[in-house]
Amino acid sequence: EDVSACLITKTDTNPFFVKMKEGATAKAQELGVALKTYAGKVDGDHESQVAAIEACVADGAKGILITASDTKAIVDSVKAAREAGVLVIALDTPLDPIDAADATFATDNFKAGELIGQWAKTTMGDAAANAKIALLDLAISQPSVDVLRDQGFLKGFGVELGDPNKWGDESDPRIVGHEVTSGNEEGGLKAMEALLAKDGDINMVYTINEPAAAGAYEALKAAGKDSGVLIVSVDGGCPGVKDVKEGVIGATSQQYPLLMASKGIEAIAAFAKDGSKPAPTEGKDFFDTGVTLITDKPASGVDSIDSAKGLELCWG
């Protein structure tokens, strides 16, 4: 009998989710699962995800893979779907509470931020004490990835956090400012230009993802600061890793969307066969698909791989 599954991502324009979809589609084909994909219209689009879950249930899907835009708010719809006998697996972002989903295959975004923070701190050495930090975040609505990565970075860098559930409330004078980028080159460029106008001595740039980092780099280059400024990012997409290789980005935390997606599809196929549910990683309440720091200038005390290895593992 045919098994059908749904993949619901935050948007389907971000390369990260595009790759996740590709991974899921490939795996689904391999296992003979009929896969339908849905996405929010903009970042943080919660309603479209609710509508998508409803459509999947109406359509009689066996399982749903979801990267939730609003991890708390989606819980109700997930509950309704599970009550209707659908297996729900959270990908990339855990739900809140995490046991609202049957299983979670995710990256630890806070850890991803922490890694680049630690790397940056070590790399700068003593200069870190008077660094000038620019933070290029995602959106003013501060979705959870945005907060986790940003706060993780600051923690790793040794900046005292305010409320760890939001960015922008830190009082450390090293922070020049937060700007939002929508996670693309255009946003990264404009945000960097604005922060440079505010303080031309910025030497440390955190970016939400690699496209934003590429945009920031263009702005720095135009200001004649293409060397001497450290850019760190998160994602590990192939263009991003290439940027690490070319020295545009100092370090990035790589995540593995393809792995998440294929694991998810496998879990649904297994569930359809014998009703078994996947188990979490030992010692954690979710299945950690892992995050790895990629840099060509390893720092002592921070595990990392180089960009050549990163290119083999990158996802798009």
Partner: protein, 366 residues
């Protein structure tokens, strides 16, 4: 010398005696087609209804899961919020305005209701009343700027959209209030998320068709507004204000007051939509995409429903069908399993097609 004048006009007006009072009645060809066209012409909301029927038929054939009671009730519950926002938008568009802030008012009102209850411990029903009142006030502010300061609606609501959305994020500190907390402590907030189950089979769990209270609310609101717009003086004034504001003012319509009332009422509808959102989504989330997209969605419903953006023409029933058409398309395409980008693409095509069909029918019958 008025005799002089008398002679002058009598020079020709004497011809008037015995003037015919005959009415110019013309022989009319009453072919069935002509009559259909005439009916369509005089019943503008019938046009979106026909588009809707065609869409239903198409998806019914294209996908097997479509004509299930569950699917249809899901469509209704998915458009409940857009439908209520559409009531607000219809009012505004009838006055030749546009309200880009509807979604922001809805989300902000829902956040206010939630935070009042959970942050300050105000009893939920009172929070709801406060939320509705504040939503009305936000709308009234739009109305004031438009009617008294005489700023263009587009720009005023573009501004308040940004202002309210930012205020919403700042005030809520981006915090979502969880569904389980609401259920436990403030069930009134979730009132519209309750449902009535039809055709339930007592033996089988979760059988039957659930229809949310929110769906009934939307239908009632549309019906009430249809009555108000058609059968009360105020409704006529709304149309007159949109049709030609200067003429309406000269003819004795207090256009300024009507505008403020319209925007305030729109604000109230948005706040109601905000309350419904809590019931529908379970939780209170300041990042709900209605804040970003509610305006475009409601405008789409209004325009597919045949309401003129230049004001004064169209009916709220049309808006309801417009919202349904979009809902049916989105669900139908999802069930067919089109890729989301293709869904956007096709919704774009649909918007243009629906209006083109509408235009074509109107032209044929003109």
């Amino acid at each position: 010398m008025s005799n002089d004048a008398k002679t002058v006009s009598e020079a020709y007006e004497s011809g008037l005696t015995g003037a015919s009072e005959r009415v110019a009645e013309f022989h009319e060809k009453d072919s069935p087609l002509k009559r259909l066209q005439h009916w369509l012409h005089t019943t503008p909301s019938a046009v979106p209804m026909i588009v809707l029927l065609l869409a239903l038929l198409f998806f019914g054939f294209a996908t097997s899961n479509f004509f299930k009671a569950g699917t249809l009730s899901t469509i209704l519950q998915q458009i409940a919020i857009v439908g209520i926002l559409g009531c607000a938008q219809t009012l505004v568009v009838l006055t030749a305005g546009i309200d880009l802030s509807v979604g922001a008012i809805a989300v902000f009102s829902s956040v206010l209701m939630g935070q009042f209850t959970f942050r300050y411990g105000i009893p939920a029903p009172l929070s709801i009343i406060l939320g509705l009142g504040l939503g009305t006030l936000m709308g009234a502010m739009n109305g004031f700027l438009i009617a008294r300061i005489k700023l263009p609606p587009f720009i005023v609501t573009l501004g308040t959209w940004q202002i309210l959305l930012a205020a919403n994020f700042i005030y809520s500190a981006n915090e979502t209030i969880r569904s389980s907390d609401i259920e436990a402590q403030a069930p009134a907030l979730r009132f519209w998320g309750n449902d009535i189950v039809f055709f339930a089979d007592a033996a089988v769990k979760n059988s039957g068709v659930k229809v949310l209270y929110a769906v009934f609310l939307m239908i009632v609101l549309v019906a009430v507004m249809a009555y108000v717009l058609r059968h009360t003086a105020w409704g006529r004034h709304v149309y007159a204000t949109g049709d030609d504001p200067q003429a309406a003012a000269l003819a004795g319509v207090p256009t300024g007051r009507v505008l403020i009332q319209v925007y305030a009422l729109a604000g109230l509808f948005c706040a109601i939509a905000g309350w419904v959102m809590i019931g529908r989504f379970g939780s209170v989330s300041p990042t709900a995409s209605t804040g970003q997209l509610g305006n475009i969605q409601s405008i789409t419903a209004v325009v597919i429903g045949g309401i003129s953006l230049f004001g004064g023409r169209g009916s709220i029933i049309g808006m309801f069908f417009g919202a349904l058409i979009v809902g049916v398309f989105e669900m139908g395409l999802r069930l067919i399993g089109t890729d989301p980008q293709w869904t956007f693409f096709l919704i774009g095509v649909l918007i243009i097609l629906a209006v083109a069909v509408d235009q074509w029918i109107r032209k044929a019958s003109a």
